[in-house]
Symmetry: C2
Subunit: 625 residues, 2 copies
């Protein structure tokens, strides 16, 4: 990039750049340009030096340069890169620190557009080739517009002296762009004269392209354009043209839509009242069902009036309310509606959505008794009570409700006990593991070791059950708990750290499972509060008192254990300690080593964060204190 | 604690302790005891040396010591403290490291109980005074039991030689316990002979206590005991006795219950079918209402059959289902039920519980039209659709539903735009504040300063709005959003860090409010997903597409900004960097200074944690892509 070696033309780069900057600041573009061209300084600097000033003075720039060739030269040298940062960094560094104003727009495209507008304003005939360059230089290149302009030149009859001929312009375009690409784009203008003009300039054999063009020319305009679009893989445009070819081409249309998954585009081409709209929706819905997007499929069916399919799809997606709407549209009889409701209720219960299932049974199957049973199964006591009273069936209180709340009380006690047992075991095992680790580290004075070889150190035999053992030890029949524990089980399957004794990150695994214990108990507070109220309402003060006491004890155990388990140094930087006034080089190193023992392997910071206890919920009953 | 200074009796403490330990390990308690007594070694060591062994060999201990005085000496020296840890730490430290087995029980009480059982087993007569000591030494002291035993001695006619007289035993008790205290306790045995016996030993004037005792003795037994209990402030016992005094004393009973807030205890004394139970419940309920525990008050009323009061209290607590149950119990007419439902629905709407309000209006006021309007207000589109179809009122789709979803779309767009604007402003301000802080720190080379004097440094004038400005700028009519923003407003009121420009922790405040921006947008994803489906169902693809695109853009903006805002060094310990192989004393100090700039003041680590984006919810519709 240095100028050639004639002594008299050697210039000091910094001085030259300083001069150029001065010119640019004074809007003396011509002087700057000529100097840069002569000394081979990258022309991007014309813009990069001060983008804002350049963009505000594009017409001045064009008028000063005043040369199609020079402007084209500038265009061809344009790059996205900011040359004030890479090749020509400013000495004092302060000139160009303001952020780019048009940072969201690409630099090259921006310059092409503003210069083109300036040239079109000053003299479109004169700058014809530069305007073409501006179109071609953009990314993606606007070849169609460029071709259209060439085509317009042919049509224009004004024999202007300055004007460039279509022939010349095309030649210039071919110099910029690959001929085969240009041929394809010319096809896209649907202008056969232009196509032939380009084809003639290319090396193509007329025997090859003429028959194809002849076939096209015989077609009806829309179908012809569709065929070209399809040839050029412009499927959306192709659909637009094909849709205008009349109903006899609709099956071809629909096949193209299916082939290219262009359902959304296709739907825009027909009013929603037409049969075509319905047919496209039908195909779209089937496609969405294949992709298992049942609800969206149902929406597509529904708005096209294909209610039967919509009903099925809504049912598959669990949108029972929408399914009922479809049934209403289909004019279902009471009987049919009832059995639909019953079947959907069954599925909702599988997903533990008891409240919704109960609505279905009560309001659509007229089976409030079954609804009450579902509500009891879902531990939705108040709603169950409401239905019992609404239908004046107080006998259900004795036969079902009271037994259900007593059963729930027992299950909660079992659950709390199992959580407490697990928590205590894991907690004491954590103590053991930590002590072993500390001892192991103390005995390892070799600081070069990257990590303590924990794997072999902790294989002693104090007994501890694994998480899955603990989970399988108790089983719940009460719905909410089961839902939770099955969720926990799934969670347990994707655990990263092994609870196996002596596994390298057993302490992390223990922290994880202890956190889960706490969260499990925390999450049950609300349910227990609601249950306590029911127990009290029906005079089971003793059972309620026992449950309240156990929960209180377990919560207290966990709360007081939190600082022992999630020790403050676990998470927080202990830099202050390490680098305190009494620190020595050795103490810093030792702290550093200790630090390396634990945190780097933990990707999920939640494990190291103590679980939170919500103090907002006043779950305890005054009655039972 | 050193033995007196006769030369021949100076013993080396460590040797002595070693010998005592040996004796204790061999269960030679007498030798150990005598040696310890002689050399004034604290007798607690007898137990603390090995609690398990001691507790398993209490009878051996008693038989070996074989002296009431020595056993009493041991009792009086007992303290909760573990002397192997405080006064006599073991040399090798390994002897007593196993955790206490009965850690939940107090040491002194435990020893008192096991030794007493042993003595009662061996010879209750002989060890009579030691047994009394065991009762008195417990905390709280079991004075009543001790007095009862003294009383029993008087009654017993067996003239055993070894036996201690009641007189002697009482004398001994008075030596252990304050006489006035003992007098009160003797009253509590309801045994007037015993009371007089104790009173005679005291300095009390018989003119003082005899009239009181005479009055008592004239009373009916239960009322007498009640009077004593009340005198001794044993209110629960007092209630028990008073409840047996017949209905003429019930108002006295109820007053005592109210005075002492002993409702729970009082209820246990009467079967739930009695009028007394009802009266107590009535008083209890009123008390709970005063404490604003409306729901619990309602439960108390309800189970006592006071349904009218229960209904009011359930209504006050928002338990509309239970309120309906009470209305049913009270035999409300259809009209009365309907107006109750309407009034409760109004309150539920105020709490933004539209779904429940709609159930009330549909099922109890037979006003499904109003129910649909409430559901639309609550953005519960599917439920609204269900009711519209259930009652075959498709005209509401045009008149209300479609306008409502279009309105919701507009509100969501406004909300997203406001969040985006705020986010961008806060983000760029954060950049500025951080740069200023960095510069300020670089220029402060004086390491003795405890913290950078940030207060004065950042008062320049780049404009930024405060959180409350941003919040008030847009107002929502869509319910879910309003509920959320009012919550945010409350949250904003208790902000710890000020967003005011130049405030010392402006950067923390910015982090906090940026996190809130992100969470606000995150939380709206689900609502927008549901809204998009409705928009598509009714053919508003364009509006749906616009909303989907805006949300996507805002989410993307936030996600890409997270690493810039919550930089990794913000939270994680940068110990590794600081103490890397290239660190020098200066670099460590510099890092230490930098660290001190920010984290120590942040109590809530959540502010420093980047907000999470849930990837689970597939909120985007395929239709709109």
């Amino acid at each position: 990039q240095m100028p050639r070696g004639n002594l008299e033309t050697v210039h000091h780069r910094a001085l030259v750049l300083a001069q150029i900057r001065k010119w640019l600041d004074r809007l003396m573009f011509r002087e700057a340009f000529q100097c840069m061209r002569k000394l081979r300084i990258n022309l991007n600097l014309l813009y990069d030096h001060n983008p804002k000033v350049f963009l505000e003075n594009t017409e001045t720039f064009i008028r000063q340069i005043d040369s199609v060739n020079y402007i084209n030269l500038f265009f061809t040298e344009l790059k996205e890169e900011d040359f004030t940062k890479s090749m020509y960094p400013s000495v004092n560094g302060s000139s160009n620190t303001q952020p780019r104003q048009h940072s969201d727009q690409k630099k090259v495209n921006l310059i092409c557009d503003v210069l083109r507008v300036a040239m079109e304003h000053i003299d479109p005939q004169k700058y014809c080739l530069s305007i073409l360059t501006a179109h071609v230089k953009k990314s993606p290149p606007e070849l169609e517009i460029a071709l259209q302009k060439v085509h317009d030149l042919r049509e224009s009859v004004t024999p202007d002296i300055k004007a460039v001929s279509a022939e010349e312009a095309l030649k210039y375009l071919l110099f910029l762009v690959d001929v085969n690409e240009l041929y394809e784009y010319s096809l896209g203008t649907y202008d056969f004269d232009l196509v032939i003009m380009v084809a003639e300039k290319s090396q193509k054999d007329p025997k090859e392209y003429l028959p194809f063009l002849n076939t096209l020319q015989k077609m009806e305009t829309n179908y012809q354009r569709y065929t070209i679009d399809r040839h050029l893989k412009r499927y959306t445009k192709a659909l637009g043209h094909l849709s205008k070819c009349g109903p006899e081409h609709f099956s071809e249309f629909l096949n193209l839509v299916k082939d290219q998954n262009l359902y959304g585009e296709a739907l825009k081409l027909y009013p929603s009242s037409t049969q075509e709209y319905k047919d496209i929706s039908d195909a779209y819905g089937e496609y969405l069902i294949q992709k298992q997007l049942y609800e969206q499929a149902a929406l597509v069916f529904a708005r096209a009036g294909i209610f039967a399919k919509a009903l099925d799809a809504f049912q598959s997606s669990g949108s029972w309310q929408q399914a009922l709407c479809m049934a209403s549209r289909l004019g279902y009889t009471q009987d049919k509606l009832s059995s639909l409701a019953r079947s959907m209720a069954g599925k909702l219960v599988e997903q533990r959505r008891h409240a919704e299932a109960a609505i279905l049974l009560e309001q659509y199957s007229q089976d409030y008794e079954e609804a009450v049973l579902l509500l009891l199964e879902g531990a939705l006591w108040e709603e169950a009570l409401r239905l019992i009273h609404k239908y004046g069936r107080l006998d259900i209180l004795e036969t079902n409700l009271k037994p259900a709340i007593l059963e729930a009380q027992k299950n909660q006690l079992i659950f709390l006990d199992s959580q407490k047992t697990a928590f205590l075991r894991y907690k004491s095992r954590l103590q053991v593991v930590r002590e072993l680790k500390e001892k192991a580290c103390e005995s390892l004075q070799d600081y070069d070791m990257p990590n303590c070889p924990e794997l072999e150190l902790f294989s002693e035999t104090s007994s501890i059950v694994t998480a899955s053992d603990m989970n399988s030890r108790y089983s719940h029949s009460n719905s909410r708990i089961s839902a939770r524990s099955s969720k926990n089980r799934r969670k347990a399957e994707r655990k990263k750290y092994s609870l196996k004794e002596g596994s390298p990150f057993e302490d992390i695994a223990l922290l994880e499972v202890l956190g889960e214990n706490v969260r499990a108990v925390e999450s049950v507070k609300g349910d227990i509060h609601i249950l306590l109220k029911q127990l009290v309402l029906f005079g089971y003060d003793e059972q309620a008192g026992a449950l309240q006491q156990v929960l209180e004890e377990v919560l207290q155990l966990m709360e007081t254990s939190v600082p022992e388990i999630w020790t403050p140094d676990l998470h927080q930087s202990s830099v202050d300690l390490v680098l305190g006034p009494n620190s020595t080089a050795n103490s810093i190193m030792a702290a550093y080593q200790q630090k390396r023992m634990m945190p780097p392997v933990v990707q999920d910071p939640d494990i190291l964060t103590p679980p939170k206890f919500s103090k907002n919920l006043q779950w305890k009953l005054h009655l039972l204190q």
